[in-house]
Symmetry: C2
Amino acid sequence: MEHSIRKEKIFSGRILDLERHTVSIQDGTTAFREGVRHPGAVAVVPFVDDKLLLVKQYRFPVQKFMLEIPAGKLDAGENPEDCARRELLEETGYVTRYLRKLTTIETSPGFSDEIIHIYLAEVERVQDPCPDEGEFVVPILIDSREAIRMIVDGQITDSKSISGILLAFAGRESDDDD
Amino acid sequence: MEHSIRKEKIFSGRILDLERHTVSIQDGTTAFREGVRHPGAVAVVPFVDDKLLLVKQYRFPVQKFMLEIPAGKLDAGENPEDCARRELLEETGYVTRYLRKLTTIETSPGFSDEIIHIYLAEVERVQDPCPDEGEFVVPILIDSREAIRMIVDGQITDSKSISGILLAFAGRESDDDD
């Protein structure tokens, strides 16, 4: 266990805050811990029959386009399942017919409190996407076995997407074992 | 594509820096992007025969103990494979007999440039652990099928660990198909 003795708020931003804590650690000494505070997010592994509905978007921090499962930040007080359905509809124009929680991941527990609730969904197209202002997201349908091959080959590299897609299949295989 | 027009350095810390950029976005307008700069890291999925060597440690940002694959930050200019062998030996006392790259993940591409190079390894115990000062890491051997069940059950929730462990098995099954 580590207990915070002193907290400094370093930055309060649009999508994250940054804090530095002085903490007492296991051996009785003190240390500094820098940590990002994030509101949390949801992500969805959306199946359209045997295809997966992914999204391609430019990610400024890593300076490249990435292929990911649809995801979005939680609004204050928002129910994660509602958020999953809302983000999927906004980003892709698909409505959720079936939704099941897969897990909740920590993305970078060494320096951030970001968690992402990941759901498996069956979805159906009902309208054109209506993304948030300043968000440019392209929906792409990919055969689910091809998506796994793209993970193994290093073409899908986002951690929530790898975790979610492989977990959707691991859970399925684990169910088969029972 | 998004181009940075103006960069503000907000914080320079021990394990991360924080920047805020004014960027020109796809529709020709401008927006702000907050981003964490991180030196990058390596992680290892270490097999001891049919068991996996995991580590348990307290993660201050998420205020809990977590079970993860061994990992560590890259030193400036350090070769990732050397870093993988070094961190594994320091944290667990196991030496690497075989090492193969699985992938490189982005952990939080929406607000951070952190990447983690993930390796599969076969390892063997040679000495007691010698972790860095202020680091309290407990090595734990777990049957590899049990580790997958702990991912499916939500007991292993760290994104690099889920990605690495499931990828080690997905790659194996993909090899079997060929």
